[in-house]
Structures are given as C-alpha cells and as structure tokens.
C-alpha cells in the first residue's frame, strides 16, 4: 500500500509539473556533457598537440561542475518548494489520519528517489546521445573526419552525473521536508493566505522604480565607457549598481502594474483582473523575478561572448604556410640536408627562408630607428582615439625588427598576393594584424602614400607602399608589432649578418589530395619526427586556435544554456504554482460567466507579461553588457569592429525571443489545461 501510494504520487507529480521534470532532464544532460568533455573527439585530438592547455582546461572541469551543481541546486530547491507547498493540505490529511511524521518523511523521500531514478533513466541516454552528436559535429567541422570516431561513453561522467544530481536533490529535499515536518497539522491543512498585503505608500514604489532606473543607467554608463574595466573596485561598483538597480526596478514595478490595472480601459475583457494578478505576482516575487532577469542577462552575455570569440579566432588568420623550421634550435643548413637525405623535400611544393633580425649597425642601438616625420603627419590628422593610440605606440618603435625583402616577397607570391618592389633607400612597413585595426591601417597608409622620410641606423630612407601584414611563419602566436622590410643587401648590412632564419614550407598539393589537410599534416608530422627534425606545423597552430575556440565557446555557451534554463523554469513554475494557488478566483470568474476563452486569454496575457518583463529588462541590459564585455575583453583589432559584434548581440536577443516564445507556449498550454479543469464549477459546502 505504502509503495503504491509512493508510485502514484510520484507519477502524479511528474504529470502535473512537466516543466520542472523537463528541467531536471536538462540538468542531467548539462552535467553529463560538461563531465564527458574529455571524451570528445576534438579534445582527444587536441590533447595530443596541446596537452598542456587541454589539461589545464580539463582540470577546470570540476570547477565548472561544482558551479553547475550550485546553480542547479537553486532550481531544484525552488521547483521542489512549489511542488511541496501545493501538497501541504494532502500532507495534513495524512497526518490527521495517523501517519507518523517519520513515515511521511520516508514517503516523500521514496517519491523523490523514484522521480530522480526516472529522470536519470530518461536523461542519461539523451545526454550520451547529445554528447556523441556534439563530438561528431565538431570533429567534422574541424576537418578531423568522422571515420575514426568511436562511441565513447564515459562511465565516470555517468557516475558523477548521478552523484551530483542526487546530491542536490537530496539536500534540497532535506531542507524542504524539515520545514514541512516542523509545521502544525492545522497550518498544513489551512491554505495560508499569501501574506497580507504590506503595502507601502505608492510613492515608495515609484521612488524605488526611479532609483532602479538611475542605478541601471549609471551601471550601463560605466560599463560602456570602459570605466568599469579600469580597476577591480570600479568593476565591483558597476556590478553592485547593476544588481541593486535591477532589484529596485522590479520592486518598484508594482506601481506601474497598479497604474495599468486602474487604467483598465474599455474593450479589454478582464483587464483589471489580469493586471491585479500580475501586480500581486510581481509584489510577492519581485526578488525572484529580478534574479531570473539577471540570469537571463548572464546567459545573453555568455552567448554573445562565446559566439564572438569563436568568430574572432576562426576568421582571423589566413592559411598560407604549413611548416616552419626555426633556426633557434637547429642549424637550417642541417635541416635542409636532413630533408634531402630522407627524401622528404619532395613532400613540399615550396621551401624558402624568411630572415628576420635586429638593426645592429647603429651606434646607439636603442635608438636605431627614428620616424618623427610619420609622427608629425599623424599628429596633424583629425583627433581620434585611434590616432592617439597609434601616436603612443609608434613613439616606442625605436628598435624595430628588419625583414629581408626576398623572403617576404616569396611569401607574398605563395599567398597569391602582389610582391613589393623597393628601390634603393626605400623600406616598407610590416605590422601584424593583431596590432592594427582597419581604421588605424587606413591612417597609416594615408601617411605612407606621402613617402615620409625616416632614419634607419643614421641613414635616410623613405617609407613606401602600404602596411604589410602577411604572417611570416606558421606559428600565429609569433607576431611583430612593427618591423621594416628592406632590400636584402641593406638587411645584411643592418643586421651585420646576425639574424634568425625561419625555413617555411608548404605541403605539396599531391600530398593533400584525397585527405583532409589535418590528416595530411598528421602523416607528414610522423615522417618529420622520424627524421628527428624540430618544426612548427599549421596543425599545432590550428590546434591552438581550435582549442581557444572550442574551450571558449563551449564553456560560455554551456553556461548560457544553463542560466537560460534555470531562469525560465523558475519563472514558469512560479507562474503555474501561483495560478493553482489562486484557482478559487478563476472558479468565481467562471460562476460570474467568464468563458474558457476569456480566462485563457487573461492567463495568456499574464504569462506574456510575466515572462516578458524579466526578458525585456535582460535584453536591454544585455545590449550594454555585451558591449562592455567586448570593449573590456577583446583585443584592439576586434574593438574597432564593435558594430559588427553588436550584430551578434542583436542576434542573441532574437534567439532569446525564440527561446522565451517556446517557454511561454509551453506554460500557456499547461495553464489552459489547468483552466479547463476549473470550468466545471463545484459548490463547496
């Protein structure tokens, strides 16, 4: 009998609170996916190349796992709380009928256990499937090929998913059942009126609303102007202002709701009822709503940051070179010899030297280069932040690298670009992409067109052409902020024949034919390793980039999904619980002649507002938040592209609309179903 009751009750809870149950499933999926990250094809592949970085990321997984546990605990706690509160009367009856409190406790525990088992059995297969799918898709996108894919169920991840899930459910249960058990039977049986209205004067709410708006505006201002990033204290202040602003805004919102209810105009059926319901809901739950709104904001920021970072890293580099052998650790002549003797030179269609060195011929080597004329031209341009930054940066370039023209021209022809020609006494400027934004590039090119005169080691030179920025070697993390390209004879004179050589190579197209580039490089790597050569390959470089993309976007998007789910579930569950608590009002309306459609319309409107308010506040804040995030976190090159980045943020808001729409539709359906059960009025004696 006891177990039958348990089984029936848990089945009923699952049906009545499908939204909550779905969220449990999603949290299981979230747990498993973060825990099984190390089993993803791309991570296994990257671990071979970038074991340090990958291991660092994997070492952080427990941290993310812990954080997810912590956040999901609140979701489970709130949702269980609503569910138990709804059943209070039922518990009172059990106790009245003579059930002991300990037995009630065990009954609830057993119910909880049962529903958790069901959730796990349904959630884990979904989680595993999704994880495999992500693994396949990312491997495919990265060009790894999916033939080598092995199904990799991580039993450790399953174990920890189950442990974590039970842990949070159990702790939430202990706290909640403790609260229920300590109540008198009488108070369990009587439906407690939802707190008598402790209304402050409406001026207080209006003031709170106003203060909220001011606080938020201040926070937005600090965030956008970049002031927040100056120091930790200011960042803290911005966050506190934003947080307090949101709380106050929601607290003050009841005055707006009251106004809307009073305004209840003609034509709209039940407008007063709709807004009074909303007002009451907002009054009792303004803090939860504010927190939900902040969670949605966090989700939006994470999404945008993740997508933007992924785009930034993947779209940045142009792939020209496949291999670079550096003279740092080996003699280039020996490298060439080894390649020939092992017959490996046939692997490459191009093999050329890139020579880079310092100006050593100057008497004062610290001030080997001087370009006052360029700085003067620059100073004359219309004032802007970009100009000031350039002025500042270029002012320090007194000891730049020099690059030999022949090597650089070879690189350009391999890249399919026009080579540059330098007459005697001419030099070209090289700056890596990372250091100049398009706007700055344009400024510099404008000045270079005037052929300004500069001094290199005391000799007069004229700068010519446009700013060059093709990557010199395979390793994209080796960059030059400012260098001069000079004819070979001048190069040797300036460097006094003391320079670094990078032997660049491009794979023979025949080698690549029929395979993915990554596979071709992997094979070549094995041959080079066998010959005992040290090299940097595009693969490693690509691996590093892939890693940044995968790590940054995976983690941020993961967090975003978790935040979004929690926020929406809390809002949805709260609304439905509230609706059930106020079911009597709906019944009265039915007796006064409200039709099913009218009630559904009113409830639908309440749902629109109830979801819409926190989502709208979050969407507005996100425009500022994302912008602040970009201006604080991304490198200077991307900053100039901020308008393009803002498009991403707008896209995120649209995505949010879709997600909210889906949630609203689900909640409306559930609410309509509930209203239908109220349509047959019963007379209570």
């Amino acid at each position: 009998m006891f177990f039958e009751l348990v089984s029936r009750n848990s089945k009923r809870s699952r049906k009545e609170n499908g939204l909550f149950f779905a969220s449990l499933l999603i949290s299981i999926v979230a747990f498993y996916n973060i825990l099984a990250l190390s089993k993803q094809d791309i991570m296994i592949f990257l671990a071979k190349l970038e074991s340090d970085a990958v291991n660092k990321l994997l070492a952080m997984i427990p941290l993310f796992y812990g954080m997810t546990l912590f956040i999901l605990f609140f979701l489970v706690y709130f949702a269980s709380k609503f569910q138990l509160e709804r059943r209070k009367h039922e518990f009172g009856i059990y106790l009245m009928l003579g059930m002991r409190r300990s037995k009630l406790f065990f009954m609830l525990l057993a119910e909880d256990f049962r529903s958790s088992i069901t959730a796990l059995f349904m959630g884990l297969p979904i989680a595993i499937l999704l994880s495999e799918l992500i693994s396949l898709v990312t491997a495919r996108l990265a060009g790894l090929g999916i033939i080598g894919h092995q199904i990799s169920i991580s039993f450790q991840a399953i174990l920890w998913t189950a442990v974590g899930f039970y842990l949070i459910k159990f702790i939430a249960f202990l706290i909640l059942s403790g609260k229920i058990a300590s109540q008198e039977i009488g108070s369990l049986l009587v439906e407690t009126p939802e707190g008598t209205k402790k209304d402050l004067p409406s001026v207080a709410y209006a003031l709170a609303f106003l203060a909220g708006v001011i606080f938020l505006a201040a926070a937005y201002g600090m965030a956008i102007s970049g002031l927040a990033w100056d120091e930790a204290g200011k960042m803290g202040l911005t966050l506190i202002l934003g947080f307090a602003g949101t709380l106050l805004l929601f607290f003050g919102l009841r005055s707006v709701m009251g106004f809307l209810a009073k305004r209840s105009g003609n034509g709209q059926k039940l407008q007063a009822f709709t807004f009074r319901q909303l007002q009451e809901n907002v009054i009792h739950r303004s803090t939860t709503l504010a927190v939900s709104s902040l969670l949605i904001l966090a989700a939006l920021c994470c999404f945008s940051a993740g997508v933007a970072i992924a785009q930034f890293y993947s779209g940045l580099e142009q792939h020209v070179l496949d291999y670079t052998f550096s003279s740092d650790s080996q003699d280039i002549a020996v490298v060439k010899e080894t390649l020939e003797s092992h017959g490996l030179d046939s692997l490459f269609s191009e093999l050329f030297e890139m020579r880079v060195g310092y100006i050593r011929s100057a008497k004062d080597t610290d001030n080997a280069f001087e370009m006052n004329s360029v700085l003067e031209y620059l100073a004359r341009l219309p004032g802007s932040d970009d100009r000031d930054v350039l002025l500042n940066n270029l002012g320090y370039q007194t000891y730049p690298h020099v690059i030999s023209l022949s090597g650089y021209n070879r690189l350009l022809s391999v890249a399919g670009k026009l080579t540059i020609e330098l007459a005697e006494g001419e030099a070209a400027v090289y700056m890596d992409n990372e250091f100049v934004s398009p706007a700055k590039l344009e400024m510099l090119n404008q000045i270079l067109a005037l052929n300004p005169e500069v001094q290199i080691a005391g000799e007069n030179y004229r700068l010519t052409g446009t700013v060059q920025s093709t990557d010199l070697v395979t390793d994209s993390s080796i960059t030059l902020s400012f260098a001069l390209i000079v004819p070979d004879a001048d190069f040797e004179r300036f460097t006094e024949n003391d320079y670094d050589i990078y032997l660049n190579a491009v794979l023979n197209p025949e080698q690549v034919a029929g395979k993915s580039l990554l596979n071709a490089i992997s094979e070549t790597n094995e041959k080079l390793d066998a010959a005992g050569l040290l090299y940097e390959s595009y693969l490693q470089n690509m691996g590093r980039q892939l890693f940044y993309i995968a790590a940054a976007s995976y983690i941020t998007i993961y967090l975003a999904v978790v935040f979004l789910i929690i926020a929406n579930t809390i809002i949805g569950v709260q609304f439905l619980t509230w609706q059930q608590k106020t079911s009597r009002r709906y019944k009265t309306l039915v007796r006064l002649g409200a039709s099913y459609e009218t009630l559904c319309h009113s409830a639908g409107k309440q749902i629109n507002w109830y979801f819409g308010i926190p989502a709208a506040v979050a969407a507005i804040s996100s425009v500022f938040g994302v912008r602040a995030l970009f201006s604080g976190l991304l490198s200077s090159r991307v900053k100039s592209n901020i308008s393009a980045m803002m498009i991403i943020s707008v896209a995120m808001v649209l995505l949010l609309c879709v997600v909210e729409y889906i949630y609203m539709a689900v909640v409306k359906k559930s609410s309509n179903r509930y209203i239908l059960t109220l349509m047959v009025p019963e007379r209570e004696e």
Partner: protein
Amino acid sequence: MNTILEIENLCKYYGKQENQTKALDGITFQVMKGEFLGIMGSSGSGKSTLLNCIATVIQPTGGKIIMCGKEVQSLKGAELADYRGKQIGYLFQNFELLDNLTGRENILLPLSLHNVPKSESNKRIMEIASYLEITDVLDKFPSQMSGGQKQRVAAARAVILNPSIILADEPTGALDSKNAKLLMKKLSGLNQEYNATILMVTHDCNAASYCKRILFIQDGVIFHELRRNIPEESQQAFYERILKVMAQLGGGTANVL
C-alpha cells in the same frame, strides 16, 4: 405578472439503481417577476441542489428549467457564459470576492466579462453603491472590509448587470446578526423599490421572513408553501408562521418517539 423562471418536474438522482439518492424528485414551481422567493429546508433536503441546477453548476437528471422562455439545459459555450453572467446574479454564502481586486473592480467584473462599456455603468455603480452603503469601501481591497461590507459589495456585483433573477445562496450564513439584518433589508429594498426578482436559499428563519413566498423542501419534494399576506401580515407574524413549519420540517410530530 410575467413568469421569469419555470421549473418543471426537476429531478436529480445520485448513484446507481440499488443505492440511489434522490436529491430532487420532481419539483415544479414558478417564479414571477418581482417576486422574493425563499427556499427553506433542513440539511440534505435538496435546496442547494435545486439552486445549483438553476445556476448550471450541476446537470439535472430530468425535467426542465426555463429562464425567460428559454430552456437552460440546451445552453452551451458562449450562451452558457452569457446566461451565468447576464441572466442570473449570484450571491454566495462566502462572498467569493476576488481578494486582489478593489471593491469597485470586483463590482465591475461582470461588465468587463460581457463587454459592457464602462461609461454607461459608472452612474449605475454609484447609485447601487450608495444604496448599499458601500461608497467608502469601493477603492479598498476585500481584506480591508468587514464581512457585511464584503457581502454588500458582492450584492452590488450580483445586480450590476440588471440580471433577470438574483440567486442568493445562504447570503447571511457568514454574517453576524446585525450585518445579516442590514443585508436582508437591502435585498428586500432591491425587491420592493427596484422590482428585482430574488430566489434565496436559506435555513435562517429571520432572513426568510423578508420573503414574500417560501417553499419548504423535504427529501427532494415540495412539502409546504407559505405566502405572506401583504400588507395585513406583519413580518413578525410571518416569522412565527415560518417557525411553526420549520418545527414540523425537523421531522414533524410523527417522528417524535
């Protein structure tokens, strides 16, 4: 006089054949326009079932309910909602005010449900409110009103749309004697001055003495009928007549062992 409500051979049976309870077993009566009809009976006599059938809260097993010439059982959907809102005004024992709406908003609910322009009713609400002495509490929430005020606000809500009939279900059940008396005076005034038709279920003899006619129900059938002789008979005399019938209803002399 026009007939507002006609009940013909109304039956309501609960349970299966062997174990059947006959809550209403063929009741027939009529309510005329401007009448103040009381239905009395002991617990379980079927008076609440009768009211619920008229209010379309429960479906009768047999018989007819005809309101203003239209059979109520055939109504569905929007028509049914219209019937509940416009044809009948319902006064509940426990008021059933929405506690998150102000008095005014509660009274205006039926208007908002049936798309009646607010401007038309503003005059009416003031008239009714001043008659029922609730002008002060119009902008208060139910939690800030006394029981009597709540029931009078509920009464205002029941009559705001000028329904054909007001169904009052033990309206004094949750009130103290002073407030009960005030409410009954107001209801009786609505009946006499505004010609409102009222059908009231009660087991309070005091409240019943305000009626013009009383039907006594026992075991699902009409057992007795009393008519107040207006103007000769005083309310006090009528009250005493009611008491006598009620004493018999309690089982009658036949049941005294």
